[in-house]
Structure formats: structure tokens, C-alpha cells
């Protein structure tokens, strides 16, 4: 691609332009969007609802045999919201020291709400289902001494192999929480896994 000066000028302004466009749209639509929100029906799945709401909408493209599986909706409990337990003497999540290339915002203000006491779960082995438009995932969670000892994907009924999210199950035990990372290109599977773990943990309460 040739680099003409005028082309370069356009290029340099593209980042700024995108911000200006977002602001213009936001400013013009703010009031209308508020109204729309008042009437908003939950058509879209909310991955981590802040309050118990109906389960994430099952995909219209779900396979019939998958849709027949009995599953309960899973409003994650409110206590999951501010993440209380993630810092308890866990080894660092990443094996290597975090590279300092990440944009460093100001001193990280923690979520404002005071962290509730760490949840403990009843010992045992629990399973839960999570759903996505690409299919469903069953997670198995083992609780020992009130803590998550291990998590596995018990059944993978998604269109794509669950190997794409195989790094997620260990994160649950590491973090003592269902809040696993996002996987670009496999967000549906990651969400289904999240829901499955939330449902399993709800049974362990």
C-alpha cells in the first residue's frame, strides 16, 4: 500500500475520528436510549447479572436434543459480584511476571463495595450446565474443605471442541471463583462454561 502524505493524514486522524463518532452518537442518543432501556426486554444474555434475573436466553439455534436437557436457570447470587476471595494466598495466575507493557491506569481503585466474607461451599462433587448459542457445557466442581479443589468440563456439547477453553477450568480453582478469562474467538464456549460453574456452585451452597 503506497503511503501518500494525504493518506497518512487520514490515517492519523482515524483513531481520533472513532472517538468523535462515539461521542456524537452517544450524546445524540442518550435520552432515547434511556427510554429504550426502561422498556428493554432481555433479549440478550447477560453473562454476569448483578441481581437474580431470568436465565440467559437460550439460543434459538440450539439443537433440539440439547434443548431437551433439563436445566435450571441460573441467577448467580449477588455475593459473586465483588470478587472477595480472589486474593487469598493464591499463586500468581500467570506463570511469568506480568510484563509492564499493559497500559497502567492510575492506582487501581478496587470495587467500592466492601468485600463480603469469602463464600464456603459444602464438600462434595457438583455439576451444572451452561448454555450458549453454539451448544452447552456441563462443568463438574469438586469442593473439599469448603474450597474449590478442582473443576473439569464433564460434557462438551458445543459445536466447537472444548479444547479451545481448556485453560479455563484450572482458573476456577486458582481463583476460587467462576470468573474465568475471556477467550477471543471462543467467547460463547467461555460463557457457557462460566454459567455451568455458577450453577454447580449454587448447588454447593
Amino acid at each position: 500500500m503506497a503511503e501518500s502524505p494525504s493518506n497518512k493524514k487520514v490515517a492519523n486522524s482515524l483513531v481520533a475520528l472513532s472517538s468523535a463518532v462515539v461521542l456524537a452518537v452517544y450524546a445524540a442518543g442518550y435520552a432515547r436510549t434511556r427510554t429504550a432501556a426502561a422498556k428493554f426486554e432481555t433479549q440478550t444474555a447477560e453473562r454476569r447479572p448483578a441481581a437474580p434475573i431470568p436465565a440467559p436466553v437460550a439460543s434459538p439455534v440450539s439443537e433440539p436434543h440439547i434443548a431437551e436437557l433439563q436445566r435450571t436457570p441460573l441467577p448467580p447470587p449477588k455475593t459473586e459480584k465483588p470478587k472477595p476471595i480472589a486474593t487469598i494466598e493464591e499463586p500468581p495466575l500467570e506463570p511469568a511476571p506480568v510484563v509492564e507493557t499493559a497500559p497502567a491506569p492510575e492506582p487501581p481503585p478496587p470495587p467500592p463495595a466492601p468485600p463480603p466474607p469469602a463464600p464456603t461451599w459444602k464438600d462434595g462433587t457438583y455439576t451444572g450446565w451452561g448454555t450458549s448459542r453454539h451448544g452447552d457445557i456441563q462443568a463438574q466442581v469438586v469442593i473439599e474443605s469448603g474450597r474449590i479443589a478442582s473443576t473439569t468440563i464433564a460434557q462438551c456439547l458445543t459445536r466447537y471442541s472444548c479444547s479451545v477453553i481448556e485453560k479455563l477450568p484450572p482458573e476456577v480453582a486458582q481463583r476460587q471463583s467462576p470468573e474465568v478469562d475471556y477467550v477471543s474467538g471462543a467467547t460463547q464456549s467461555a460463557n457457557a462454561f462460566y454459567y455451568a460453574v455458577v450453577e454447580a456452585l449454587n448447588k454447593a451452597k
Binding site: L14, S19, T33, T44, E46, V99, P111, S184, N191
Partner: protein
């Protein structure tokens, strides 16, 4: 958009804002979808030759698309066939004129714009994540008070996450041939683009990340990386034979 949207806010009382954020997706999709003949976009496309008054959303989405098309010399092109110069905007009157009958696909830009508007809505909470079918925006820090981690899947071996990015206040978008089955066309030639398996872009806005990921996909690994450097954004590109090219400042975890 045919996409499931999920939003996470690291704050216990964000329900109302999350609803408003979702409302942006509905509002923007309603105006910009190609799949409803009565949408504002399709009304516009149905009336070539005359200036059509446009809403702020449609006007700005088209405006951004056109400038992105110019900046990428047509590698990204909302008309999908090199006709973007036949779209004329009048910022005084807020009208759009199609000089001829053309296809207008705002899908990627509209989805990105919705993510960005939702991000703006959630800005007061500072720490949040929006995922619209792989168009991600990660605000602030995750619940562990670290930059959000985003895995990039291997374009061929779906068992593998090839890169883990650390991202804060940035959008991440991937264009992959595995998603749309090799159907990304080079709008300059009308032929399928073959030289890239997946292109991921990290940018300040999802709209920009999506447009540049599409452009980089079409341009191929060398010109694609050059484009991203010129635009001042980071990214990585896999070729079908799995050669990886990346920008210099890619913020990944070691």
C-alpha cells in the same frame, strides 16, 4: 447483529447502566441492520439518487466507514465492492446520497459502534467488560485489579490459545476465516481474501478495531501489519500456513 452480547461490570449496583448499555445494541442494530427492509439503512439503500436525511447513528456510522475506507484504500469498504466513493455525505443537512445503487454493509462498524456506545455508558463504573460475539471492550481492570486478560485462539488448532493479551481501556477484535468460512472478500477485486487466517486488532474503540481487523485480513500479513503501525494500533496476523506477524508493541503476557 445476530450476536449474543454479554456485559460484566465490576460493581454491585450497575444494573440500570447495564440495561442502558444493552439498549444501545438494540438501538444501533435497529437502524443499521441489513436484515430488515424497514431499517433506516435499508430505506436509504432503496432510494439512490436523492439526499436522504439520516439519524445521528446512521450518519456517523456511514461517516466513519467512508473515512476508514479511504484510510485503508478500500481494503475495508462498507459497499463491499469498491463503490464507497459513490456515497456522499452532507454534514450540514445530515443527509446521505447514494450516487448509484449499491450494497451498504455496516454490520461490523455498527457492532463496534454499539460496543463503544455501551462502553461510554459504563464509563462511570470504570471497570467492565463488554463482549459482542468476539468484539470485546475491556474497561479498567478485572475483579482481581489487574488488566483484563484476553486469549487469542489459534486459527487452526482450536485447542490452542496462542496469545494472551493484557488489555485495559481497549477494544479487541478478531477477523478469522474460521468464523465466516473463508467468506471475507477483497472489496477491491471481488475475490476471496486468502492470505490471512486470522487478524486481531487492539484499538481504543471497537469500531476501529473491527474495521482495521477486516482491512488487515484483506491486505495480508505484510501490508496488514504496516497498516496497523500506520494507524497507531497493535495487532497480530496469522497466515493460513501459521506464520505469525505482529506489531511491535503487542501487549501480551510473556
Amino acid at each position: 447483529m445476530g450476536t449474543i452480547v454479554s456485559i460484566e461490570v465490576v460493581h454491585p449496583h450497575a444494573d440500570a447502566a447495564i440495561e442502558r448499555a444493552f439498549a444501545w445494541f438494540r438501538e444501533i442494530e435497529a437502524r443499521c441492520t441489513r436484515f430488515n427492509q424497514s431499517s433506516e439503512l435499508m430505506q436509504l439503500v432503496a432510494q439512490p439518487g436523492v439526499p436522504i436525511p439520516a439519524s445521528r447513528i446512521l450518519f456517523e456510522a456511514v461517516r466513519f466507514s467512508l473515512i476508514a475506507a479511504e484510510a485503508t484504500e478500500g481494503a475495508f469498504d462498507p459497499t463491499t465492492a469498491g463503490h464507497f466513493k459513490d456515497l456522499v455525505l452532507d454534514p450540514e443537512q445530515n443527509t446521505i446520497t447514494l450516487n448509484r445503487q449499491i450494497t451498504l454493509d455496516l454490520g461490523a462498524v455498527a457492532k463496534g459502534l454499539a460496543v463503544d456506545a455501551a462502553a461510554r455508558e459504563l464509563e462511570p463504573f470504570e471497570h467492565f467488560a463488554i463482549d459482542a460475539g468476539g468484539d470485546l471492550y475491556l474497561g479498567g481492570l478485572n475483579p482481581n485489579a489487574e488488566p483484563w486478560t484476553v486469549g487469542i485462539r489459534h486459527p487452526r488448532r482450536d485447542r490452542e490459545v496462542v496469545h494472551t493479551l493484557r488489555v485495559s481501556n481497549q477494544a479487541v477484535c478478531t477477523s478469522g476465516d474460521y468464523e465466516r468460512g473463508h467468506h471475507i472478500q477483497d472489496p477491491r477485486t471481488g475475490k476471496p481474501a486468502h492470505s490471512v487466517a486470522s487478524a486481531t486488532v487492539i484499538a481504543p474503540s471497537a469500531m476501529l478495531a473491527d474495521a482495521l481487523a477486516t482491512a488487515a485480513f484483506v491486505l495480508g500479513p505484510d501490508e496488514g501489519i504496516l497498516l496497523l503501525h500506520r494507524m497507531g494500533v497493535e495487532g497480530l496476523i496469522f497466515t493460513p500456513d501459521l506464520h505469525l506477524s505482529e506489531t511491535r508493541g503487542l501487549p501480551r503476557v510473556a
